[in-house]
Structure formats: C-alpha cells, structure tokens
C-alpha cells in the first residue's frame, strides 16, 4: 500500500510510485505494439470495402430473412452425419490418446528420454494443426466423405485429450500407487488398480468436453468436402441460397447449444 502526500492531505494509492511507472510503461509498450500491428493490417486492407460493409450486411440480412423453413426436412440426415463424425472421431481419438498420455506423463512413461519426447511431439503436432487442415489433407487421401471427417476429428482430438490426460496423470496421489505396489502388484496391475481409477473421472470429463468441441468443429468440415452439414452449407453458399444458409445456421446453433448442455450435465454428474 502506498500513500501519496498531496500538500496536507494523504491519499491512498493502490501501487507505489515505482510500480505505477512500471504499469504505465507496460501499457505504453502494449499499446504501441497493438497500434503497429493494426497499422500493418490496415495497409493491406481496402478500406473502401470496409466502409461499404453496412450495405453488405443489410443486403445479406434481406436475403437471409426469412429462412426457408421447408428445407428443414433435408438437413436431418446431414445433422445426424455431423453428430456421427464428432462422436466416432472422439472415440477414435480416445483409443489413441489414452496410451499416448501414459507415454507422455513423467511418472508413467516407460522411458523419459526416448518415449516422452516422442509422445509430446505427437501431442503438439496433433494440437497445432486444425481439423480443417487435417480434413484438407485427408479428403485428398481417402476421398471426400464422412470417413475423412472422422479421421480428421480423431487426429485433431488426440493431442487435446492426451495433453489434459497426461497432466491429470502427473497430478495423481502417489500414496495410492505405493499402496498397490506394497501388495506386490506387477507394473500393469499398478497401472490398472493404482493409477487408472484415479484419473477415470478426469478422463470421462475430458472426453465429453472434447466431444462437445468436436460437434462444433464437425459442422464446418463439410466446407472442405469431409461430410456433415457443412456440405449442405457450402452448397447453399455456392448457389447463393442465403435463406437456406440462415436455416442451416439456426440448426447449427441449436445442435451446438444442445451438445454443450449435455456435456455440462454429464461433467457435473461425474465431478
């Protein structure tokens, strides 16, 4: 706490002079960096188009409202496909992420020098590349369709699930592990009875959370040809049928909010 002397009066200040100056310098540098970055962006922008955007928004809103409600019949199937992509992709990811997490965790990795960096590399590459880019690659390899979408979602989710899971493994209570070891259990038994029960709630929570994220991601995979509602969306955008687009967007919002609600409920029930 610092006190600022203003003539006779003493005024309370949250920070002393030195800290205030430091904060001020920090804000100044931050603002300068931001202004510089924005400047560079604005150099590459056609401001004419940006000023025209209210017209564009108005035009688009005019075309999008009202949505073609009749189109609803045609999007049940793609919606079902979308949910399948997310769910099966998550299942696929879980199967690969589970062992990967054990390889990556410092306390369970069979070899900290060789296996751990390898597992971490798998996790980082999977996390850094967006599912859209995975889908872009996979559509070229296995052809357009649901299968590419499932694999793309799976590959993207491995890193997420494995990262959170290995952090959970590293935070387990060691006493329980030692108790199991003291009974003369082998390494696999220690794993099955000492470690897995401790991380199971976290694991279930992480999986459901990722499933919820995957629903959102799988709605756009169709834009690059990997199946699901994105295909319909892309087709509608291509034929400039904006009233269909708005209907699809409504369907996406409902699905995403619904899945988020389910995942929140399940996670509450577990934890």
């Amino acid at each position: 706490m610092a006190v600022d002397q203003q003539g006779e009066k003493k005024v309370w200040q949250r920070f002393d002079k030195k800290k205030q100056r430091l904060h001020w310098a920090g804000w100044f540098t931050g603002t300068a960096i931001f202004v510089y970055c924005f400047q560079l962006i604005s150099e590459k922008t056609f401001w004419m188009f940006v000023w025209d955007s209210p017209n564009q928004v108005g035009d688009l809103a005019y075309r999008m409202i009202p949505p073609t409600w009749g189109y609803f019949d045609k999007i049940w199937e793609p919606l079902w496909d979308t949910i399948n992509i997310a769910t099966l992709g998550t299942v696929l990811a879980i199967f690969i992420a589970f062992p990967t997490a054990f390889l990556a965790a410092r306390n369970t990795s069979p070899s900290v020098i060789f296996m751990r960096p390898f597992a971490l590399l798998v996790i980082v590459s999977s996390r850094s590349i967006n599912s859209i880019i995975w889908a872009l690659l996979l559509v070229a390899i296995v052809g357009p369709g649901l299968f590419a979408g499932i694999i793309a979602i799976g590959l993207r989710s491995i890193g997420f699930v494995a990262k959170l899971l290995y952090e959970a493994i590293e935070e387990i209570d060691h006493n329980q592990v030692e108790a199991i070891q003291a009974t003369g259990a082998g390494q696999l038994q220690v794993l099955a009875y000492g470690i897995v029960p401790q991380i199971l709630p976290a694991f279930a929570g992480i999986s459901v959370y990722r499933w919820d994220i995957n629903i959102r991601e799988s709605t756009v995979l169709g834009l690059v040809g990997a199946g699901g509602i994105g295909l319909q969306l892309n087709a509608s955008i291509m034929e400039l049928a904006w009233s269909k687009v708005s209907l699809i967007l409504i369907a996406i919002i409902i699905t995403v909010i619904f899945s988020e609600w389910i995942s929140a409920k399940v996670r509450h029930a577990i934890i």
Binding site: K44, T45, N130, L136, G143, A204, L223
Partner: protein, 284 residues
Amino acid sequence: MKKILRNQQQRQVDTNMTNLSLAPRTWKRKSFIENQTVRYSICAGVILYLFLSFNTLEINWIRVWEGLPRGQKFLAGFAPPDFISRWEEIVDGVLESLWMTVASTVVGIFISIPVALGAARNIAHPSVYYFCRGIIAISRSFHEILLAIFFVKFFGFGPFAGFVTLSFATIGFFAKLLTEDIEDTSVSQSEAIQATGANWWQWINYGIQPQVMPRMIGLGLYRFDINFRESAIVGVVGGGGIGATLNTAFDRYEFDSAAAILIVIIAIVFFVEYTSGIVRKQVQ
C-alpha cells in the same frame, strides 16, 4: 457415508449368501458407475448408437482402398519439406498471422470485459444479463471458419476480415471464462469495498478486478495461443495470414512447400505455448 456402509453390508451379505460352500472369496474392483441399471443401460445405448451410426456411415471402402496408394504418393509429395522456394511468402504469411493475432487478441479482450461484466450474475441486471449471454452463445456456437466466410463477404479479402473474425471468436471464449471467474469472486472483498462508499466503477476496479486479474492474464495468453492457431485457418476462406499461404500451396499442388508451412506453424505454436506457459506460471 451411511449409504456406503449399507452397501458394504449388503455386499457382505451377498457374498456370504453365495459363498456358503466356503469357496475363496475374491475381491472385485468397484466399477466407475455404481448403479447397475444405469451402467447396463448406458452400455446398451452405446452399442445401439454405434450400430445405428455405422449403418448410416456409407464409407466407400473401395474408394478408401484405391486412395491408399495415392495417399502414399501424396504424402511422399510432402517430403522433403521445401522451405526455400516459397520462403518469402511463408515469412510474409507468418508475420501477417502474428499481426492479426496480436490485434485481435487485444480488441477481443477489450470487448469481452464489458460483455463479461454484463453476463456475470452477481453484477448485472437481468435484462443486460440475457443480452450478454446471447452474445457469448452466438460467438461460441459458430466455428471461426463460418464467421470468416461472412466477414470476408462483408469486409473483402485480406487480414482485416481475419482480424474481425478472431476478435469476435475471442469474445465468446474470453467473456465466458471471465464471467465464470467474476461469479466465483469472494463476496466479502467486494462488500468491503462497497462499505467504504465506493461508486460502481470503484467497486469494479478495487473489489472485483484485483480478484480476477491473475487468471485473466493467463487466459489472455492462452487465447493468444489459440488465435495464432486459428489464424492458420481463416486464411483458407480468404481471411489472410499463413492460412492463405497454405491454401495457395495446396492449390498449386506444391505439397513440399505446404509441409514446410505446417512445420513452421507447429514450431511457432510450440514456442508460443512454451513461453506463455512460463509467463502464466510466473503470474499465478
């Protein structure tokens, strides 16, 4: 506790009943879902779902099979990564992505703060509450790429559309987590500030802000990290940044350059994540 005890007694009785012949009793691990009916119905539901989903999957296995050798050739096209021939474009793209990331994180966070204050149940009036919750829900429901398609249409091609997209996506993420944090703040501290006769601004600034600040810095860094990753895809639909470079490389079938770009993205993400992890540890 009582319930557990009763369960244990029940189990004891059960084992006694079934083991009248003095056969050795074996211990069984408690299962994750204790209620048997719930457990079995969940299993049945999962099997039913898998059956239904596989029935409607329509995977063209012939196409997949035919695709594998082509996939191999395709993957072979990635190696070795070619950093040299498109190096200038890669550097340009990465820098553009970085500008977009910095600008959008800053703007996104600045907009998130009032939204989060409005969406926190312990601060906001109900009418504001539902409005701000609505903003968060909309921003969270749409994937960045969907937003980017619309913003590219509104603002034209280039990094500005990407910047707006990422800013908007940041609001959903940041405001939601910040809201939860504000709702979790201790009431006694904010009441103490109110008791001194502080007005609304002073209350927020001295009662709430110091409580949420450390986590906010951590979240901001985390979002920076996410925004960089997302800036790699808004380019695919015309939002500028490294994604645009990547998309061009794909369109020209220059897979070796694409591989180089992917490696650059992974390296930068790794670096940003590592440094932001260190900073977050220092702050918290």
